[in-house]
């Protein structure tokens, strides 16, 4: 008679929570994916906040300025991160994902720095 194969105990399986909880397993691609999603969700909030302050109830001060600066940072990062996704969708940069990701971050920061400088020149 063939030996019976032992099967895992019912109720134990390393599921999504256990899988995602261990950030050591996050590679560059996972961080890029996560930052793209987080920046996208934050963008929704900051775009509405920007619209609220600039159009519905125009006001000026530290908070509106901080919202605008965050918006600049998020738009530039999310935009460049989107270009990275397009590159990878066309099969480019898959093996050089580390270089592509850090280039994305660097380009976003440089562009944001220029945009913030222009913003401050105009409003301060």
């Amino acid at each position: 008679m063939a030996a019976q194969r032992q099967v895992s105990a019912p109720g134990y399986r390393q599921g999504p929570i256990e899988g995602y909880r261990d950030v050591r397993s996050y590679g560059v691609g996972m961080w890029a994916w996560l930052l793209q999603r987080v920046s996208g969700v934050l963008l929704i909030f900051f775009v509405f906040a920007h619209f609220w302050i600039k159009v519905l109830f125009p006001t000026w001060g530290v908070v509106p300025m901080a919202i605008d600066l965050m918006l600049i940072l998020l738009v530039t990062y999310h935009g460049f991160s989107g270009l990275r996704t397009v590159l990878i969708d066309f099969g480019a940069g898959v093996r050089a994902q580390r270089v592509v990701f850090f280039s994305t971050v660097a380009l976003a920061l440089i562009t944001a720095a220029f945009a913030v400088t222009a913003y401050l020149d105009r409003y301060i």
Partner: protein, 240 residues
């Protein structure tokens, strides 16, 4: 004495115990791999520790496990790469049989779903009809290096979120056979990979490419399958 500390995931379903972590101090030797450390524990301290291994040279893919949270082959990972204290646990995204041994059945069942063998158009034709320098042969030769170790599946965030996702290895195998002009079943395979739990479930987190011990790129082949799927529905894709 130069020692390393191995924190091993322990789980024995037949004993009815909850999963736990045990620590072992092991004397470090020159050129020591994680697999060597596990054998040292098993031989000298705790013979109840279970893990898989066979070839010890990275060819069979049986010693895949999570080492410091990352899927790796224990025989190909030197202890100097992972530090003086490291953790070992079974491959993620799969049920645990015992200690460091994951149940590979879900992985293999998905692999089988893509019909992972050549179905010849003409069973009587001679076996080698593709020139060695042809494009198809290039794709086939590269992807035949897959040893089905399951590291890509264990590192895959999409498989963590959805246990029905076909996974990188199965999709990689499907692409290899779909690109083979000698194969008679590319349409059947495309139907399997075009399932919502197939190519469209991939989140392009590129973990499979990063962790593959044979340096394959399932991310790339999944993108190629997506292009093929779009072509089948909408005609040619610009630039492809």
């Amino acid at each position: 004495m130069d020692e390393i500390v191995v924190r091993a995931f322990r789980f024995n379903p037949s004993a009815g115990e909850a999963p736990r972590w045990d620590s072992y101090r092991v004397q470090r030797v020159s050129q020591m791999t994680v697999l060597d450390a596990l054998f040292a524990i098993q031989n000298e301290q705790d013979d109840s520790l279970s893990f898989r291994s066979a070839c010890r040279v990275g060819m069979c893919g049986s010693c895949g496990m999570m080492i410091n949270g990352k899927p790796r082959l224990a025989c190909q990972t030197g202890v100097e790469q992972v530090g003086a204290e490291f953790t070992v646990e079974p491959l993620r995204n799969l049920p645990v049989l015992k200690d460091l041994v994951a149940d590979m059945d879900p992985f293999m069942e998905k692999y089988a779903r893509v019909i992972p063998y050549l179905v010849p158009k003409d069973p009587e034709a001679p076996p080698l009809v593709l020139p060695a320098d042809s494009d198809e042969r290039g794709i086939i030769d590269e992807n035949l290096q897959c040893i089905t170790c399951g590291l890509c599946y264990a590192g895959c965030g999409a498989a963590t979120a959805d246990e029905e996702f076909l996974g990188p290895a199965a999709l990689n195998r499907a692409y290899t056979l779909i690109q083979d002009p000698r194969d008679a079943t590319p349409e059947e395979r495309m139907k399997v990979v075009e399932d919502p739990r197939g190519i469209w479930r991939c989140r392009t987190q590129i973990a499979c490419t990063a962790y593959c011990p044979r340096h394959l790129s399932p991310t790339h082949t999944i993108q190629q399958l997506r292009v093929k799927a779009i072509r089948r529905r909408f005609g040619r894709v610009p630039g492809k």
